[in-house]
């Protein structure tokens, strides 16, 4: 708070000292300046995006030789009046688009029409990007790649429910891993895995205010259950653009916490002009096609009375009865924009309501936004941003004990005739082949809901003085309040009681209330002036102060006495309530100098220092320097090479450890006879310091063949020093749980390429393609610093390991390469395993114990990511859009297969060993947990993520677009489980998959129109 007061005082002083009356017309805005002539006419027209057909606002329409021009409004319409008669060359320009010109003849008193269809520049060198310093920084001036996504354009191409869907497949190096449950969201990683144990989710800013980026909210466990993301509460319809800073070289000025990347979300703002209402209506459906082949198996069982073996695919058995349903998707949005040069406004309201492929899986969300921009004086502007979200969702179990589990582990044993013969208990006839009872009775009985209210808001003062000094003060808050409930009432349904058991059927209720308040105070100042006519200097200083306070209160109990009871205090068995608060604060300062030579060569150097409350007591300030160079070698050339920019950047940024992780603490416990006691809690680490990411990034951006082909290429080399590892403490030391410590170094090298091209451009037809490719090579260079420490098995059960020389989160285990299978017992005889050095060694000793070494089996995070977009424009009204995404080169643990074949033993080979031909599988079945390579399988895939057809209706004056779009309609993969894109997200079983809900297919129609 003190800093806020100081900052305001400082701003006030500057404002007071600033002379009034400086001419400061908004940049890029041209007004009609031609003298009236006697013989004049009018030119009107519409400017649209060549790829999407959407109107483009703020396009400058100019007749250069006459010095007259006008801008398009939000509908892309322009009217240029008082144009002298005769032939004129009319030019349309906008940052981010290729320039277009047309020759037009104006007749006295007549209205001539000239429309433009502008192609987006592959490399928009003059596009403004957010860099952390005040004032407008053009892309050409920065030495690193910035992924920029146009929120409106993407929302127009295909329905997007959340920010993750906007980013997915459109930004090289951004990887998503997620779930098929409505209301949950994928987890994001940028440029691979550069941390052992800290969060990989990037830092999020909304209109300059640091925001909640938690990726796991609500009730969850060691699987996908409740993995909602704070990012999902935002509404893509209200986002103007998203900028992705992918690593330390780009994110240095954001300091500690920024090494995993920064995502700047810039919401839409009003533009001068008449009030305009935009309306969107969306209706659609979530569904799953042929689930029998996707998630069900032929499972076997031997009748102990007859010794007969039979098999069952429960979904085939249930043909005609649906386990999964068609979920309704609906969304409504209205935006109101307008204003004057001095005051502009943007009001928006969006409501979305989506039901998943289980009818009790839903997510409802209402987003409201008010953004107001005012010019308080010629030199002082105020941008106000306020967003409010209220949402309500219910997510089913995804993973253990889910509907999918009941399907995947079902077998003939659970058919009524077999079940009741084996165990004649009440409800024995209700399973109908499913291991967890006929669906969805048991699954539906569990209610897992989240009610969320979130306010993000802030204001930014932009102040300019003396013509060379720009100041910016941003303050804001992000407040989130969650009420999470997990509840099952007293069950009376036979199926549920039989499936749950009599104890669990008595129900339970857990309720938690979580609030999180984040505050941002960000002040920065830039002094810009020309050192010489050819050299421009911009010096920036700034400081940021962030706080986060999270409060958590949880209560729960189990076993209701009877039906109708539903509160915690109505349970027979009250759990122990939990109440805790987490607080962290960070403070950073920076100074940056940027030099520009002839607006072609740009040199930037900066240094930032940070301190954080989570640093150990022995650690004070951490320093993050950066330097970059950008050289526009070729610009607007008429040769085949139209534009070439070379760039390089080097920088550091950090990631802070968790709050309180430096402190050795005890916790209060209840002693015998209700006495007060203490017990070891956290061992702490006073030497703990921030992870430091250091990155070199080089690349080039080029436009070729008159803008028909663009290529952006980046190579990066990121080294994360002092990488923080959360390692289980050996219990013999007294303190259990985990301890954070600076464990080692991880190197990430990679390539990112983006190719955008116009394949065909003809009268009435245009075909644009885009291709993103990224490759990441992660490698641990050092671990723990302790002699001999070259590997850490952090995920003991599934054998995931951090090992020097390999990527973090790699699979290691015994690798069976050959052997014989005993046709009677099915045991792998003479099994030979890899010795890790190119040779083989026996897998087992004489007693059957596994003796072969653990060797590398594969990476858990995909090294290769690709996406392909293809957009066809037919005439001016029809647009067809396709997006394919792909991840290759990684493996995942198929625990469904392991459970079927090893634990429940319902695989065919369990009954017909004489048919077995997979030594790896048979060795894994017989070896306990020691051999896992049969379960760790290739999870690469290619998926048609989006397809849409849009049509601009001819009968609506203010543009009406109708669209039909599909999501996740095609999938190509060899993955053995349900869906290559979902997995357990956290806990000791991360990167596994078991009984997960596959991503649903979706078809949605959308109507957009303006009034």
């Amino acid at each position: 708070m003190q800093s806020l007061i100081f900052a305001f005082s400082f701003m006030a002083a500057l404002v007071a000292a600033t002379p009034v009356g400086v001419d400061d017309l908004p940049p890029g805005r041209t007004v009609t300046s031609a003298e009236p002539v006697q013989a004049v006419g009018t030119i009107t027209g519409t400017v649209t995006d060549a790829a999407t057909g959407e109107p483009i606002a703020a396009v400058q329409i100019l007749i250069d030789v006459l010095g007259i021009g006008v801008e398009t409004n939000d509908d892309g319409l322009y009217t240029l009046q008082n144009v002298p008669d005769g032939r004129h060359t009319l030019t349309a320009r906008r940052i981010g688009y290729e320039r277009a010109s047309a020759v037009i003849t104006v007749m006295p008193g007549a209205r001539a029409v000239q429309d433009f269809s502008l192609s987006q520049q592959v490399i928009a060198l003059d596009a403004i990007v957010v860099t952390g310093v005040p004032g407008m920084t053009r892309r050409r001036a920065i030495g690193n790649a910035v992924g920029t996504l146009d929120g409106s354009a993407i929302a127009n191409l295909a329905p997007v429910e959340n920010v993750q869907q906007v980013l997915e497949g459109r930004t090289a190096g951004v990887n998503m891993m997620g779930s098929g449950v409505v209301g949950t969201a994928p987890r994001m990683r940028i440029r691979g895995s550069s941390t052992f144990s800290l969060s990989s989710n990037p830092l999020i800013y909304i209109d300059g205010v640091r925001s909640n980026s938690e990726e796991e909210t609500g009730f969850g466990g060691g699987n996908n259950l409740g993995m909602r993301s704070a990012l999902s509460s935002l509404d893509p319809e209200q986002i103007e653009r998203i900028e992705v800073l992918k690593g330390p070289a780009a994110a240095t000025l954001y300091g500690t916490e920024a090494s995993r990347g920064v995502i700047n979300i810039i919401t839409k703002r009003g533009s001068p002009g008449e009030t305009r209402l935009e309306v969107m209506v969306r209706q659609g459906a979530n569904f799953t096609v042929n689930p029998s082949s996707r998630i069900a198996y032929d499972n076997y069982w031997r009748n102990p009375n007859t010794d007969e073996v039979s098999s069952l695919n429960v979904l085939d058995h249930w043909a005609g009865r649906r386990v999964f349903s068609v979920g309704h998707v609906q969304g409504y949005s209205g935006t109101l924009t307008g204003g004057s040069e001095d005051a502009r406004y943007f009001f928006a309201a969006t409501y979305s309501d989506e039901t998943g492929i289980l009818d009790y899986n839903y997510a409802k969300k209402l987003n409201l936004r008010t953004n107001i921009d005012t010019r308080l004086s010629d030199d002082l502007g105020l941008n106000l941003s306020m967003g409010y979200t209220t949402s309500d969702d219910r997510v089913p179990i995804d993973g253990f004990r889910s509907v999918v589990e009941g399907i995947q582990f079902g077998s003939p044993r659970w058919l009524p005739e077999n079940r009741c013969e084996e165990s004649p208990t009440p409800g024995c006839d209700t399973f109908d082949g499913f291991i967890s009872g006929a669906p969805p009775a048991r699954d539906r009985s569990l209610v897992n809901e989240q009610g969320l209210d979130r306010f993000t808001g802030g204001f930014t003062f932009n102040h300019s003085a003396f013509g060379w000094l720009s100041n910016r003060l941003t303050t804001g808050v992000d407040f989130t309040s969650e009420v999470n409930v997990q509840f099952r009432n007293f069950q009376e349904n036979d199926t549920t009681v039989a499936s749950l058991g009599s104890v669990a059927a008595k129900g339970f209720r857990n309720e938690e209330r979580v609030t999180q308040l984040m505050t941002t105070t960000d002040f920065a100042s830039t002094a810009e002036f020309d050192l010489t006519p050819e050299i421009n200097s911009a010096t920036s200083v700034g400081f940021q102060y962030y706080t986060r306070t999270r409060s958590f209160l949880d209560a729960g109990g189990s076993q209701f006495a009877g039906p109708g009871l539903s509160t915690v205090d109505a349970t027979a068995v009250l759990g122990t309530p939990e109440n805790n608060n987490i607080q962290d604060k960070s403070l950073g300062l920076y100074i940056q100098e940027a030099l520009a030579f002839k607006d072609r060569l740009f040199l930037t150097g900066a240094v930032r220092i940070d301190n954080h409350s989570a640093f150990g007591t022995d650690i004070q300030w951490v320093t993050y320097p950066k330097a970059s160079v950008s050289w526009v070698a070729i610009e607007e050339s008429s040769s085949w090479l139209n534009q070439l920019r070379l760039r390089a950047a080097w920088g550091r940024s950090g990631e802070q450890p968790a709050a309180f992780s430096a402190l050795r603490t005890w916790e209060a416990v209840t002693g015998p006879q209700s006495t007060s006691g203490v017990s070891p809690n956290t061992v702490g680490n006073p030497d703990l310091t921030a992870e430091v990411g250091e990155e070199i990034e080089v690349g080039f951006d080029t436009d070729l063949f008159d803008g028909r082909l663009g290529l952006q290429f980046t190579y990066y080399d990121k080294r994360t020093r002092d990488a923080i590892l959360e390692r289980d403490l050996p219990p013999s030391g007294g303190f259990t749980g985990q301890q954070f410590f600076n464990a080692g170094q991880i190197n990430n090298r990679g390539l990112e390429a983006q190719l955008i091209g116009t394949v065909i451009e003809g009268t009435g037809f245009r075909w644009d393609v885009g291709y993103n490719l990224s490759w990441n090579s992660a490698e641990i260079q050092q671990l723990s610093g302790e002699p001999g420490d070259t590997s850490i098995i952090f995920n003991s059960w599934s054998s995931m390991e951090h090992r020097v020389g390999y990527a973090p989160n790699s699979w290691f285990g015994v690798d069976v390469v050959s052997g014989d299978i005993d046709p009677v017992t099915g045991r792998a005889d003479n099994a030979m395993c890899s010795d890790g050095a190119g040779g083989v060694t026996p897998c087992f000793d004489a007693s059957g114990a596994t003796i072969a070494p653990r060797v590398f089996l594969g990476r858990a995070i995909a090294p290769w990511e690709m996406s392909l977009t293809s957009d066809f424009a037919l005439g001016r009204r029809v647009n067809i859009h396709l997006l394919f995404t792909s991840e290759l080169g990684h493996k995942r643990f198929d625990n469904t297969l392991r459970q079927r074949c090893r634990l429940y033993r319902v695989c065919r080979v369990n009954f017909f060993p004489e048919e077995a031909d997979d030594v790896e599988l048979m060795a894994a079945i017989q070896s306990g947990n020691a051999i896992i390579d049969a379960w760790v399988n290739d999870v690469g895939f290619v998926r048609m993520k989006e397809v849409s057809v849009s049509y601009v209706l001819p009968f609506w004056e203010n543009r009406m677009t109708a669209q039909i779009a599909g999501r996740n309609l095609l999938l190509f993969t060899n993955w053995t489980a349900a869906d290559p894109e979902n997995m357990f997200l956290s806990g000791g079983r991360a990167f596994m998959q078991q009984n997960n809900m596959p991503l649903p297919q979706q078809i949605v129609t959308t109507i957009r129109f303006g009034i």
Partner: protein
């Protein structure tokens, strides 16, 4: 650049710097609070000795309850009634170092580890010894009594680590065999005994005698074990006192078979007979509850512990007597067996055959010490026949797999993978 411009720049920079300095200079700008935790420096002081002692007792209650539960499951006392497969490895006598349950810690529903809570209880007790020895009688009241108690609980914690596990570690040190751990336990019991005898702390003295006799018996010091056991007076019993809340203090056996219904007494361990008549010490009842869901196993519960706060004995006269019977055999053993059976109206045992007598001692230990944490240890140290036998199908037709032959639990990898001494080959 004009002088004025330069001057303004300097002023702006100066102001910003001054502002930053003000912010940086504020001591509390990065200060955070944690109202739910205590800093170690504020706890490990003489004024907090009561809280530390209470915490030590609580940690021991948690550890002992888990030890009895886990070893009951490893032995034939309990069977798993869960649908989930995580605990089956232990129930099948095929525990692995990487089993998921092996690092659980006094949780409600899941099987806990014997290793984790016992390790913490041992460390806390030893830490308490260290703190008390560093403080003076003037700083801490009843310092000697507290010291004896800390030594005693350390000794029993070490016993639990050694009895349940094939190997273990102390203080992030090398891997130790059961014999090595028991040697440490013997030392703690001796220290407790010495202080207790000098201070007249009878209960502590008797418990230390029972504990030391146990480990001496395993270590082959039968003479020492006999001397200790014989010194335990009739009627002696030392209990721990579980509580309904919090969860970690619950009576883990009652919690398991009459509350969460996650374990039950299997047919081969229910309502055992002695001399052909039902032995009331092993009476069970059908709870009528199932927790297996799709694989329902009706839970049969023991009746020794009838509430969450039912006391659990950690050392008592009967055990001392049975150790004497085991060591001396013959008529002494027969006399002890009959003395223990008499209050329950059980038939008199008579035999002069030493093998038969020793077999009867084993049976008597099984019945008298039922669900007190001794059965798995007896199976292991005496190489008793396994039941169900190794290779028999596991919970026939329900859960699959077969029984193994392990009688001790491997050191969990949470220790071996994270203990630098072991990882680097020290042992």
């Amino acid at each position: 650049m004009s002088f004025k411009t330069l001057s303004l720049m300097v002023r702006a920079g100066g102001l910003t710097t001054a502002l930053a300095a003000l912010v940086v200079g504020c001591d509390d700008v990065l200060e955070v609070t944690d109202p739910s935790r205590l800093l170690a420096d504020d706890v490990e002081v003489p004024t907090q000795v009561d809280a530390l002692m209470n915490g030590m007792e609580a940690d021991f209650v948690c550890a002992f309850g888990e030890y009895v539960l886990v070893t009951a499951n490893l032995s034939d006392e309990y069977e798993d009634t869960n649908a989930g497969g995580d605990n089956w490895s232990l129930d099948r006598r095929r525990p692995e170092a990487q089993d998921a349950w092996s690092d659980n810690d006094c949780t409600d529903f899941d099987l806990g580890s014997a290793y984790v809570p016992a390790s913490r209880a041992r460390w806390v007790a030893d830490n308490m010894v260290s703190l008390l020895e560093g403080w003076t009688d003037a700083e801490v009241s009843d310092r000697q009594e507290r010291l004896a108690r800390a030594y005693l609980l350390s000794g029993f914690s070490l016993y639990m680590l050694g009895a349940a596990h094939c190997s273990c570690a102390l203080d992030v040190g090398p891997e130790l065999s059961t014999a090595q751990v028991f040697t440490e336990a013997e030392s703690r019991f001796s220290s407790a005994l010495s202080i207790a005898q000098s201070q007249g702390l009878t209960a502590t003295e008797n418990a230390a005698l029972v504990g030391r006799a146990r480990v001496r018996l395993f270590l082959g010091n039968t003479a020492g074990a006999l001397t200790d056991a014989q010194a335990v007076p009739a009627g002696f019993v030392m209990n721990i006192f579980p509580a309904d809340t919090p969860i970690r203090l619950r009576n883990r056996i009652y919690n398991a078979d009459q509350f969460n219904f996650v374990f039950g007494v299997p047919p081969w361990s229910r309502n055992l007979t002695t001399g052909g008549v039902p032995d009331p010490r092993t009476t069970t009842f059908d709870t009528g509850e199932t927790n297996g869901g799709w694989a329902p196993t009706t839970v049969h519960a023991q009746q020794k512990y009838q509430s969450q706060s039912a006391p659990m004995p950690i050392a008592r006269y009967a055990e001392a007597q049975l150790m004497i019977a085991e060591i001396e055999g013959g008529a002494t053993a027969v006399g002890i067996i009959n003395a223990l059976r008499a209050p329950h109206g059980l038939p008199v045992f008579a035999s002069a055959d030493e093998t038969a007598i020793q077999n009867e001692v084993v049976l008597e230990r099984q019945r008298e010490l039922w669900f007190e944490g001794h059965r798995a240890y007896d199976v292991r140290r005496l190489s008793l026949p396994l039941f169900p036998a190794s290779g028999e199908p596991y919970q026939v037709g329900i859960k699959g797999g077969s029984y193994g032959d392990q009688t001790c639990i491997p050191m969990p990898i949470i220790e071996s993978f994270n203990n630098a001494t072991i990882r680097e080959g020290g042992n």
